[in-house]
Amino acid sequence: MRPKVWMPAGLWLVGWRYLARHRWQSLLMVLGIALGVAVMVAIDLANASASRAFELSTEAVVGRATHQIRGGPEGMDEEIYVRLRRAGLGIPLAPVVSETVFSETLGNRPLQLLGVDAFAEAPFRSYVSAGGALPVESLSTFFLQPRTVLLLGETAERYGLGVGDRFRVEVAGRQTEMVIAGLLDPPDALTRRALDGVLLADIATAQEVTGRLGRLDSIDLIVTEGQTAVLMQAAGMLPAGTRLGPVAERSQAVEQMTAAFQLNLSALSLLALVVGLFLIYNTMTFSVVQRRELFGTLRCLGTTRREVFWMVLSEGVTVGVLGAALGMLLGVWMGRQTVGMVTQTINDLYFATTVREVGVPAASLVKGGVVGVLATTAAALLPAWEAASVAPRLALSRSGLESKARRAVVWTALAGIGAMLLGVAAFQLPGNGILTGFGGLTAVLVGFALLAAISLVGLMRGAAPLLGRLSGFLGQMAPRNLVNALSRTSVAVAALMVAVAVTIGMTLMIDSFRHTVQVWLASTLMGDVYVSVPSTTGTTPMTALDPQVVETARSWPGVERMYVTRSTILDGEQGNVHVSAMDNPGIENERYYQALFVPRGQLWSAMQAGSVAVSEPLARRLGLMEAGAVLRLNTRQGWAAFPVAAVFYDYASSEGSLLMSRGVYQRYWADESVTALDLRLGAGVEADGWARELQSALGGQQRLLVRSNQTLRADVLAVFDRTFAITLALRLLATVVAFIGVLNTLLLLQFEKQREVGILRALGLSGGQLWKLVMLETGLMGMTAGLLAMPTGYALALVLVYVINQRSFGWTLQLDIRPEAFLTAFGWALLAALLAGILPAYRLGRMPAAEVIRYE
């Protein structure tokens, strides 16, 4: 007497027909999951596209190189390459000069100018040596004529360019004219994508246009596994300040740089799916409650518990599969809209990618689909278990179930408090991991969600007498109805509460962040006017200013004082470090310090003696928060130790940066360049007008950004807002899913209440009164969700500000609480609930009372 199959076809039909009969609730479930999956797929696509774009950009530049020799801020002498060549190492070597440039003709986006030696290229970058694809005249032009480049055929075609055409390129703010010597046509799609943003030039041309005559950025090497001795020999021939390392080291560093950003985005993208799961759980529970009699009958007919379980679970899986399929399609579309935002943020904060199109990675789709189906199945497990536990008796009443739900209220609340404590404990775990941070955050959120039932019961008990006085028997009835259907109303309230709480938490976090950045800008930007070369990224400009520009600005009428800064990336023992070398002795008063390891008033003198000040993110990342910390950097004189004299608050980048006296920098790196000017004007000089004048005077020498203090602050805040645009979009989508959840719950409640409403209508309840009843119920649900969302949102803000942000990016933010965030979110909760009540009220109102009463 063993069942032959896990679920007979007849039962599958029962489940499927149920979904088909309840089109609205099935559709809303599918939509909820679809949106959740779509958001996840979209963000994953955008993240993967951004990463792939970086990989492709890197691949285009490094080709098959396994190792690279890199110089300091000024690159390295090309003599090093000559020496290595002459040494007869027996491994392929190729010199490279690369620079990010712009061209209005080519869409004014970042492009990679790659200068190579065509004769050394063959083992490295196949598209260069695959010169066979190029006509002989193109090759001879490329080799013999100065300022010529090779361009991808498709790119040239897109902008209406052809062989022999001239176009202007902006290199380090200076315009120069280039000629297209030939068009590249690589055989594979991947290389074509990688080359979309590349201008390939002869190394001499690249040196000339970048102003780095006789200098190289890197020397590429191909070293096989058994050639460690050769590697050692090459390393031994290198002067101080240069470094030989594997190519992967660099791309890994960049990946690590964006990992926290992408992880945060991915975590946020799961939010809509989590809210969607509440929706599935609620709807499935509803459907089980509605069908208790059916399950009882099936059990009487000999259906086993396991078969009932599989039947209900298969309904969940069906919804999951449909939702995930729709979500994947929607996700690809949303991903295409999102990829621009993510790439923009990565360009603003981290590095410039030159690749435009990377296609749709199948892994993102599969991941989204699988997570969607698994999550839906998980959400359907409990309702399926509940269905399977229905006794094969028909007498078990709904009221019995509800009284069971009410009895569970206290235990649920206690479980909620337990979850919160678990979350807080997770924050205390050693290691400060981002994942444990998010784990704790989820536990806190779930903990608050588990308080929804007790909050609903408490608030409704309190509201009933008041509403009774205000709205008569309907006012008494509405809260009672919600408590009587607690098993479902509490889940809907929890779903809406989670979405609204996240809105509050995110708003408070972003407000706090913005406020902190504003305070930081006010303390950091003390100059009246700033001059720099436009940067490919939104972070610190690193392109050198023309020395003529520096002198012109210094002597421009109205300038009282001028400080100069050289920003660059240096090779540190624990990876690359962003450094700003400056000559401003007032630095101690122009920053907020988290820690000062030298006596007050002596920071500048300590810096002049070789100490450095590090930003909070850098200090956290490299473990430099303690007094006596030392940072080792690769100088032209070899590795040198720089004591940390102070840790300052800084929000310019999550990688962090280091401040150094310019004198010390010049001593160690012999670099005279300047990348930014900080001008202090005399009293009464109007900064904006003055900046415009200087801009037009200097414009002929180099394209520059001359910005008044106010303009620069506004620009920084614009980048800030752009960075959070995607966060706001994700938050909105989660709220939409929560709205769908509430709508679905109300539709289901309406279905259940048909008979009760029919009797009320038969007894004389008017259409208006019916609307009032439904709206009172939905309004009370929205109100409960909104009220509970306030403490939850506040707790989330605390976790986001003090745990997640600090662990992900190393920033300490000052919590800025504004009541508007709470009031707006409460308003949204109420509005969403009331809007969700319209359709059920309309449908109930149109139902003839006689038919409703007759309904079995």
């Binding site: 029962v14 059916l294 259906t303």
Partner: protein, 226 residues
């Protein structure tokens, strides 16, 4: 030949903190191919007795033997599978699955038993014709009258050729005429198919079809007058 045997069967419920004995050491033997009616007032324990015989519920003490198999020793899973194969159920409120058509409802026991083959289908068609709903295969239950729904339920109770048909107030939700027709049908079909019918009812008209009538009174079964 004894087909069903109950020995010292007892069942009590706790209500409002008080223990209420519904069945008190009930003993019974039922012969094969017979129609037995259990009469009694509402709440007298008739349905509880049916639930214990079908294995839907478990007894506090005592044994239930069906065709030599001690049901009270089986696990929940075993009892479910026994019920699926050996028992046909007819309920007061018909309990057809609203989302399935008449045909799908009727053949559900065949599907559950993995017997949805040509022979099974032929039997289902024959039974549907016998209950007078031959042309209504594609109709959904909400389009049928109460009497018609109960006919489908009777056919469903017999379609998988069970050992025992349990009918719990099969006419309780029908008017007098329909109730009479249903009892006629039930009586004819169970006898024609050589089935054992165990009928729980408070209707003397319905009980009149039975070979043996018993009355449930204060937890005990007593023979009732014809």
């Amino acid at each position: 030949m004894t087909f069903l045997r109950l020995e010292g069967l007892s069942k009590a419920y706790t209500e409002g903190g008080k223990r209420r004995v519904v069945l008190n050491a009930v003993n019974l033997s039922v012969e094969r191919s017979s129609l037995t009616a259990i009469l009694g007032k509402s709440g007298s324990g008739k349905t509880t007795l049916l639930n214990l015989i079908s294995g839907i519920d478990t007894a506090d003490s005592g044994q239930v033997w069906v065709e030599g198999l001690e049901l009270t020793r089986l696990s929940d899973q075993e009892r479910t599978l026994f019920r699926r194969e050996k028992i046909g159920f007819i309920f007061q409120f018909f309990n057809l699955i609203p989302t399935l058509t008449v045909w799908e409802n009727l053949t559900l026991p065949l599907a559950l038993n993995g017997r949805m083959n040509a022979a099974g289908k032929a039997r289902a068609e024959q039974l549907l014709a016998e209950v007078g709903l031959g042309g209504r295969q594609a109709t959904y239950p909400d389009r049928l009258s109460g009497g018609e729904q109960q006919r489908v339920a009777i056919a469903r109770a017999l379609v998988h050729d069970p050992l025992l048909v349990l009918a719990d107030e099969p006419t309780g939700n029908l008017d007098e005429d329909s109730g009479g027709q249903i009892m006629e049908l039930l009586n004819r079909l169970t006898r024609e198919n050589g089935k054992n019918l165990f009928l729980v009812t408070h209707s003397l008209e319905a009980a009149a079809y039975a070979d043996r009538r018993l009355r449930m009174h204060e937890g005990h079964l007593e023979e009732a007058a014809a």
